[in-house]
Subunit: 340 residues, 4 copies
C-alpha cells in the first residue's frame, strides 16, 4: 500500500521532509510546489520528483495525491489547509497552524467536516527522550505530577527578517514548549504568566520582539510549570525537561555527539549538546512523517492533531498578552481533555 504525497513549500523544512519521506517504502513523493522553482530543478531531479510547479493548486487537483505537506510560510497555512481539506487530501502542516486563533479554528472546522487527517509538525513529541518521559508519566512512575520545568534555548537567533515575520518568540519558538508541556503533563494549561527581556541583541527588541523569557503555567490538574527560553546559548541547542511528582521526578538531558570524556590538568571535559534542531531531532523528524503515513494508510488517529496546534497557539497568544499587560492571563477555552 502506497501513500502518494505532495510537498507545498520547498524551503529547509520542506526539503528535510522530502529526504525523510524518501526512505519510507510506503511513500511516493509525486509533486513539489514552491513560489519559485527554477533553482529547485536539479534538486527535484536528484530526488526523483515527477512534478515541480509554482502553483500548489496543481497538487490539490491531482487525484493521485492523497496527502500534502504544508511547509510554506505560516501566513499561507490556514488557506491551504482549508483548500486541501476540501480537496479531500490528508494534511501534514508545519507549526504554527496560523498566527490567529480564529483562523486556526476555522481551518480545523473545515478539516473536521472534510473528514481528512491533519497532523501538526510538533516534532519534539516524536523524540525518544520526551516519548519516554510521557510514557513514564502515564505509567505513574513519578506519581501525580506537581511541577514541570522546560528549558529550551536556541544556539543563535534567526535573522532579523525572520524574527519580524515570526509572530514573536512565543508563537515561533515557545510554541514547541507549550505543546510539550501539554503533551507530557497530559493536562490543559489554564493560566499563563510571561516575563520577557531583550538581553541577546537590542535589534531584536527594536523589531518588537524579545529574546529571553520565563513563562509560568498553571494546569487544569493543579500542577505548575515553567519554561525558560533564550535565542542564544553559547554551548548549543539546549533542550531539557523535568517533571516532578509525588513519587519522584523524571528528567531529560541534552544529546551529545559522543560519550567521550577527556580528563586533563584543567578539567574533565565532555562534548557540548548537539548543535541545533536538525542534529537533535533527526530521528524525531523521521518518526513524525512515518507515523503520519501510517495514520493515513491505516486510518488511525494522528499523534499530534490540529487541536494540539490550536491549543499551543492559544497559550502563545495568552503569553503574549501577559507579557504586554504584566498580568497573568486565564485561558477560557472549553474544558478540552488532552488525549495521548
Amino acid at each position: 500500500m502506497t501513500l502518494t504525497v505532495g510537498i507545498i513549500g520547498a524551503g529547509r523544512i520542506g526539503k528535510l521532509h522530502v529526504d525523510n519521506l524518501r526512505v519510507i517504502p510506503q511513500i511516493r513523493i509525486k509533486s513539489v510546489s514552491d513560489v519559485a522553482t527554477d533553482h529547485l530543478e536539479p534538486w527535484a531531479k536528484e530526488k526523483q520528483i515527477d512534478v515541480l510547479t509554482t502553483d500548489y493548486h496543481e497538487l490539490l487537483n491531482d487525484p493521485e495525491i492523497q496527502a500534502v505537506f504544508i511547509c510554506s510560510p505560516t501566513n499561507t497555512h490556514a488557506t491551504i489547509i482549508k483548500e486541501a481539506a476540501q480537496a479531500g487530501k490528508h494534511i501534514f502542516c508545519e507549526k504554527p497552524v496560523s498566527f490567529s486563533v480564529a483562523e486556526t479554528e476555522e481551518a480545523l472546522t473545515v478539516v473536521e467536516n472534510a473528514g481528512v487527517k491533519l497532523q501538526v509538525g510538533f516534532n519534539r513529541r516524536f523524540d525518544p527522550n520526551f516519548r519516554k518521559i510521557r510514557t513514564l508519566v502515564k505509567e505513574g512512575e513519578i506519581g501525580t505530577p506537581h511541577i514541570l520545568r522546560i528549558t529550551s534555548r536556541d544556539p543563535q537567533p534567526p535573522s532579523l527578517a525572520y524574527i519580524k515575520s515570526s509572530g514573536g518568540l512565543f508563537m515561533d519558538m515557545t510554541i514547541h514548549d507549550f505543546d510539550m508541556a501539554r503533551y507530557v503533563m497530559g493536562s490543559e494549561v489554564v493560566e499563563v504568566s510571561a516575563y520577557g527581556a531583550v538581553l541577546v541583541d537590542p535589534a531584536i527588541g527594536e523589531a518588537g520582539d524579545i529574546d529571553t523569557a520565563i513563562i509560568t503555567l498553571k494546569f487544569a490538574n493543579g500542577a505548575l510549570g515553567v519554561i525558560d527560553n533564550s535565542r542564544s546559548a553559547a554551548y548549543g541547542y539546549d533542550q531539557r525537561l523535568e517533571i516532578f511528582g509525588d513519587k519522584g521526578a523524571a528528567q531529560v538531558d541534552n544529546n551529545r555527539a559522543t560519550t567521550v570524556e577527556v580528563s586533563t590538568n584543567d578539567h574533565v571535559k565532555k562534548e557540548k549538546p548537539l548543535y541545533f534542531f536538525l542534529e537533535r531531532y533527526t530521528q524525531a523528524y523521521i518518526e513524525e512523517v512515518t507515523e503520519f503515513a501510517s495514520a493515513c494508510l491505516g486510518n488511525q488517529e494522528v499523534s499530534c492533531s490540529g487541536f494540539d496546534g490550536l491549543q499551543a497557539e492559544r497559550i502563545a497568544k495568552a503569553a503574549q498578552q501577559s507579557l504586554e499587560t504584566g498580568a497573568p492571563v486565564q485561558l477560557t477555552q472549553a474544558a478540552a481533555t488532552v488525549v495521548n
Copy 2:
C-alpha cells in the same frame, strides 16, 4: 586569640552550631540559654559548657561573652538582636531576621549604631558548590547573566505546628533561595511574581500555607530568574541551581553519599541526593561559623550581613503579596547594590 560566645536557644540548630563551634580552636562556648534547661543538663555537661540558663540576658550581661548566636524562635529575633547589639555583642542570627520588614529594619539600625557585627544564617552561601558558582560568575566565565534557575525541594514537610508559626513557605523555605538568587546573580531583585499550590497535603492549605511554588524574578541588571519549591521530594533534598549567560552556563547538581553506580538487568542506578540540609550542608554550617568567628576576631566584614537578611525578607513579602493578589509586585527599596 579566642572568641567567647554564648548560644541563645538550644534546639536542633543551636545544638548543631555548638558541635561545629567546638572544633574551632579560636572559639570558647561559655554559656547557653533556653526557655527550659532541665533536659539540657547532660548535653551541656558533655559539651563542656560552663553556664546553662533560662535567661538569655545573663549572656548579654556577661562581659566575657563577645558574641551571641540567636537560635531562638523567629518572633524573638529582633528584640534579642537589639538587646545584644546594645550590649556590644557581635551577633549571629538564624534566618529570617524577623517576620516584619519594619522590625528587621529597626533591628539593623540598632546594630549599625552599636557598631557590632551581624551575620545572618544563610548557610547555603557557604556551600562549596554555590561558592564556586558565585566565583565563576564574578570571573566572567558565563559572561553576562541572563537566566537563573533554582530548584529547592525538601524531602518532606515539617509538622503542621511548625508550618503554622513558620511565616509561610516563602518566609520559611524560599527565603534561602531568594538569598541565593541575590548572591549568585550579584544584583537586586526588582520584581517578583509568585504561583503557589497545595499539592502535597491539604492540611497545609487548611493551615493557610502552600506546599508547591514557582516564583519568577526580575533583577536590577535585567536578568530573569525562576525558583521552584516543593515541601516533599520522594528522592530526598533537591538543591540545584543553574545560571545562564551570554558565554555559557554553570550548574550545580545534588550531592550524593557515594559515587557508586550499579548496572543490572533493570537499570543503571546511582544514589539518591543526600537526605536533607543536615547532610547536604554539613560543611557549609561549619564554614559559616568559622567565617563569623574570623570576622569577629579579625574585624572583617561578614559574608552574609543583616542587609542580606533584610533583602531576602523583602522579596519573601513581595512574593506573598503576589501570591495573594495574583499580580507581579515591584520592589521599591532604595537602589542598593549587592556586594560580594
Copy 3:
C-alpha cells in the same frame, strides 16, 4: 558514478549490509549468493535485487560487478578472497579473514598482486565515539599514551553450535578489541598474556572455549594495555575504552537509548546500555560500507585493511597460545607500523 556490488552470504550480517548499502546513492546491489536461496526470494524481491544465486562464482564472473561483500562463514573467506581478487573485484570481507595466519597471509598476497582493495569488517573503527578517541590521541590531547583499557562484554553468549565453529573467544570476539587496541594506540602489539575462565556456562568450557578473559598487551611504543571480556553482561552490551597518557586520559562510555533519568525513593535510575552490536553500532555499520564505496570509487586507501585483519589474527593466536601455555607470548612479526 555508481559502484555495482554483489553480496556473498545472506545471513544476518549480509542482510544488514544490504539494508545499509541500499540507502547509499552511489551503490547498486545487483546480486546476492547464498548456499540456499529459496527462502531468500521474497526478501531479495523486496530489496530489488536482480540476481539471486547459489553459486558465488556467478558474481565473480559478472563483469558488471565491481566489488563483493564476503559475508559467508569464516572458513570460506580466504578462498573467496583469492578468487575475487583474481577476478579483479574489490573486496569487503567480514572478520576474521581466516582462522589461519598463513592462509590470511596468502590471501593478502593475492590481493596485493591483483591490485584490488580489501577492507576488513572491523566496524567499531567507524563508531563516532572510538573515532573521536583516535583523533584525540593523534592530536596529542592526552600526550604520550601509557595505558589502554578496553572493556568488551556481550549481553549473552551465542549458541553452542556457533561457539564450536567460532575459532574461540579470542578469534571470534576479542579480535575486535585487538583491532581497536592497535587502532587507538597507533602502535603494534609486541607481547600478549591471556587469562581465561569459564564462569558463565560450563557447556562453553566443555566445548573447549572460555567465556571470561583478561588479556594484557605490550605495545611497540612501550605502552601497556588490558582487555577484559565476558560473554554475558546482565545489563547489556558493554563497550567502553580508556586511553591514558602523560597529559591526561580520554574515555568512551556506553550509548543509551535516551538520556532519561528517574529519581525515586529508591534510586536515581538511567537506562541500560544499548542491547547489542546491532543497536550500538548501527551508525558504524553504515559508515564502514559508505567509506568502502568511496574508497573503491575514488581509488583511495580503505580505513581498515587486510593487514589490519592479519595483525588482529596474529594477536588472537598469540593470546590463545598464552592461555594454553600460561606464559606471555612475543609477537615476532616484521616491525610493521600502524598507519591510520
Copy 4:
C-alpha cells in the same frame, strides 16, 4: 571510657592521625615519639600532647598508654610491633607491615601470642564508596563476581629518595590495591601476573623501580581481576573500581570537590578528581582510627587485620617475582579465607 594512645613517628601520616584522633572524644593522645623532636615542639604544644620523646620505648613502658600508632619507616615496623605486643599495647600499624613476608609472619605470631589487637592502615577499606561496593557484593546485588577492575593512579611520583626506600611500586603503592582486591572480592588471590614499564620518568627506572603497571589476578573463587597503576596522572588522584558479576556490575568513580558543571562554546566541563589521598580519603582516615578505637575499647575484631597486611605483602612479592621472571606466579599460602 577513654583510650590513651601514643604515636610512634610524627611524619605526615603520624600528624594526620593526631589530628583525626583529637576529634574522637574517647581518645587521649598522651605521647609522641620521633627520631628528632626539636622541630616538633610547637606542634606538640598546639596539639596538647603531654610527652614528646626521641625514644619510643618510653611509650611502650608507659603503663597508661593502651595503644600505639606505628607511623615510623617501614623497616622499623616489625621490631616495634613485636616490642609493643610484648608490652601489651594494641597496635595500629601503617602499611606495609614489613618488606619481608617472613618478618611479618614472625611479628604476627608475637601479636597473636600477646593477645593484643593489630590493625593495618589500609585506609581505603574505610572509604564510603568502597564500603558500599563491598556491601553490595556481599548482599548479592551483582551476583557471583566474575571480573574485578581497579584503576589506581597517583597525581605525581614521590621523590627518588622515597622511591629508593619504598620497596618498589607493588609494595608501596599497589599494596593498597591488592588489599582492596581481596576486600571487595571476598576471596584470596591464588595467582598473579605483572607487567611493568618505565614511562613517567627514566630516573625511576634507573632507581630499579617501575612507574606504570598492569597486574592480572586469579582468585580462589575462580574470578579474574586486573589492576592498573601509574605514578603520574595529569588530572589528579585516580581511584576507581568496578566489580562485574553474573547479575550486574557495580562501579566507583572518583570524588570531586563540587558538582559544578560549566557549559561553554568549547566544552562541558566538570571538576577534576580530588588531588591526592589526603583529599580523597579524608573521611576514611577518620573512620579507620575511630573503628580502631572502638575495637580496642569494645574488645571487637578490627576491620583490617595483621593477616590482611600479610596477604597483601604476599601478593606484592609475587607480583614483583612475576615482573622479574616474566611468568605468572602461584600463591601457595595455606587456604585462608577472607572474612569481612
